[in-house]
């Protein structure tokens, strides 16, 4: 393989980082959650990504469990998988702050307009920052934010499927 091709592969690995590929190939918390209290579907009609997010929220507004099912590209599946790992144990207000921070971070569109103050720093985001590579690929930002929009929709109990189109 030529040198140019090797450079390409290095650059692409900034998008498809080890962590992303790992979560895409072996998504965590994958499957249906039968006793979910909150659920929402995320659809990306451009590429056919379709994810359903399930959350169980206890009486203290704490997310006690999270799962997802569906199909999508590596970025959308990895993002959903990382999301479930992140939000289990958070209370819903804090989870919404993560939603705001992630959309903000990945799309460059401040969520403050939506009335949510991110209040989530790099230390909090931790491994979620592995998704940051999408910033260089505008058409893929929607893949990375799909699960997060579904989280927002589920926690706000909107019954409409969310679309990133």
């Amino acid at each position: 393989m030529s040198v140019a091709a090797n450079n390409d592969i290095d650059e692409l690995r900034d998008l498809y980082r080890e962590l992303i590929l790992d979560h895409a190939k072996a998504p965590r918390h994958f499957g249906r959650l039968d006793d979910a209290t909150h659920t929402a579907e995320g659809i990306n009609p451009l590429c056919g990504d379709k994810l359903r997010m399930y959350f169980t929220i206890d009486e203290n507004s704490r997310i006690s469990d999270a799962r997802f099912e569906g199909s999508g590209c590596a970025i959308s599946v990895a993002s959903a998988s990382l999301l479930t790992e992140t939000v289990i144990g958070l209370d819903t207000d804090r989870a919404l702050q993560f939603f705001a921070a992630m959309v903000d971070r990945l799309s460059g569109r401040p969520e403050t307009k939506r009335g949510i103050e991110p209040a989530v720093g790099d230390d909090d985001l931790g491994k979620l920052l592995a998704l940051e590579g999408v910033k260089e690929y505008p058409s893929r930002v929607k893949c990375a934010t799909l699960a997060w929009h579904a989280l927002n929709s589920a926690l706000r109990q909107s019954q409409q499927p969310v679309s990133t189109e």
């Binding site: 393989m1 140019a4 650059e11 692409l12 998008l15 590429c47 590596a74």
Partner: protein, 420 residues
């Protein structure tokens, strides 16, 4: 052929002696994408335009634009000339019997909707059927679903086999006395399958079933002769055949178009308007309500002339060789699954690479300067048939060459490495 058309053809011919040189006619192809020379393999979605088309449109915009069929002033005359000359070029391009049979539309979709609403809707009753195939693009499904909802008619779908072929006997078996229309693709956009049109049309006509052919994917790749095909309607788009977007053509047999009511009302489609009744214009203007896409038509005419000068037989031969080469190269790649393996195909290949999602593949290829289409290709029933959400699709045009295909193959190997 009019003198204007033949004069232009010889002009174009001088610059396109050999098809191998045709690539240089397309300015968009000589750019770099992400640091690599562009390899454009998405012509089935939309093709690039040769300089002769771009220049003709620019020349029209700079010097000749006014409204058509109206003013007595010089520019209006020039615009009308340009618009109607384009119609002559299209008449020649698909060998229609008369220029009255060429209706400019917004595209294939507009043309099919016109037939569904103007030809079918008044004729259909409950219990009637419209016959399509499982291969159709959404634009040759949804307009028929709409007219079925409006009339109580039923949409009947001819199945395909695992290679993505329509079996002519299955199609014939579905042509019962209730079928009032058959709408069928010439070439499948998702899989490249060339449908057995001659047999299908002959059988339909034996049973008095009118036939619309969705020719969007045929026009840029093969000789289209509507009289030889014998179809009643033929729809195609400019932007898939090296012309701008927003312009297309409905060819219709003159006797049928004549008997059809107008679809949309407005200026240009009338002879006389009074509040107690309006007299409609003659063909084809009856179906061209409102100021048309004049510059688009001019561009489409220029594209047809470009293709006529190049020779569609040469285009087809070139692409057939390339498709064979591409199929061979792709088959050598481990864990590739070719979707659509019909015996008779145009230069399109859908595929899956291992478990890599098509969208990821599209990004990785684009990073290496290779543009392919990923997704359902506006043919979701085809994807359902194969049990997949989408494919990666490489589609060729006259300007592609073997080097493009080598670059595709290399880029796919790199994709496998990224996902290893």
């Amino acid at each position: 052929m009019t003198t204007a058309v033949s004069g232009r053809l010889s002009e174009v011919a001088a610059s396109t002696d050999r098809i191998d040189a045709a690539r240089a006619d397309f300015p968009a192809l000589s750019q770099e994408i992400n640091g690599h020379p562009l390899v454009y393999l998405d012509s089935a979605a939309s093709s690039q335009q040769p300089a002769s088309v771009i220049d003709r449109v620019a020349e029209y915009q700079r010097h000749d634009h006014a409204n058509v069929h109206r003013g007595v002033h010089t520019l209006s005359h020039r615009a009308t000339e340009a618009y109607e000359t384009a119609r002559d070029s299209i008449t020649t391009f698909i060998n229609a019997a008369s220029r009255s049979e060429i209706v400019f539309t917004s595209g294939t979709t507009g043309a099919i909707n016109l037939v569904a609403q103007s030809f079918c809707r008044p004729r259909l009753r409950e219990g009637d059927k419209i016959l399509i195939t499982h291969l159709e693009h959404h634009s040759n499904i949804v307009p028929w679903q709409l007219v079925c909802e409006q009339t109580g008619a039923e949409l009947v779908v001819c199945p395909i086999n695992a290679a993505g072929e329509v079996d002519v006997d299955s199609l014939l078996g579905l042509m019962d006395g209730h079928v009032k229309m058959m709408a069928i693709a010439h070439v499948s956009n998702a899989l490249g399958t060339i449908l057995p049109l001659e047999k299908a049309i002959a059988a339909a006509h034996q049973r008095n079933i009118p036939v619309l052919v969705d020719g969007a994917q045929a026009a840029p790749h093969m000789q289209v002769d509507v009289q030889q095909l014998g179809c009643d309607f033929f729809a195609f788009s400019g932007h898939k055949m090296f012309a701008p977007t927003g312009i297309g053509v409905l060819y219709g047999r003159e006797s049928l178009l004549d008997a059809m009511p107008p679809w949309q009302g407005g200026g240009d489609m009338i002879l006389e308007v009074r509040f107690d009744g309006t007299t409609y214009n003659e063909l084809p203007y009856k179906f061209e309500a409102g100021t048309p896409n004049i510059s688009g038509a001019v561009g489409l005419g220029a594209a047809a002339e470009y293709l006529l000068a190049l020779g569609m037989d040469r285009v087809q031969h070139h692409e057939r060789e390339l498709l064979e080469y591409m199929t061979g190269r792709l088959q050598q790649i481990d864990s590739i699954r070719l979707i659509g393996t019909a015996a008779s195909k145009a230069s399109v290949q859908s595929f899956m690479l291992g478990t890599i999602h098509p969208h990821d593949l599209g990004t990785i290829l684009d990073h290496q300067g290779v543009a392919i289409r990923t997704g359902h290709h506006c043919a979701m029933p085809v994807m359902d048939f194969f049990g997949i959400v989408g494919t990666a699709r490489a589609s060729l045009a006259l300007y592609n060459n073997r080097e493009d295909i080598d670059r595709l193959a290399d880029a796919l190997l790199a994709a496998r490495e990224v996902f290893a």
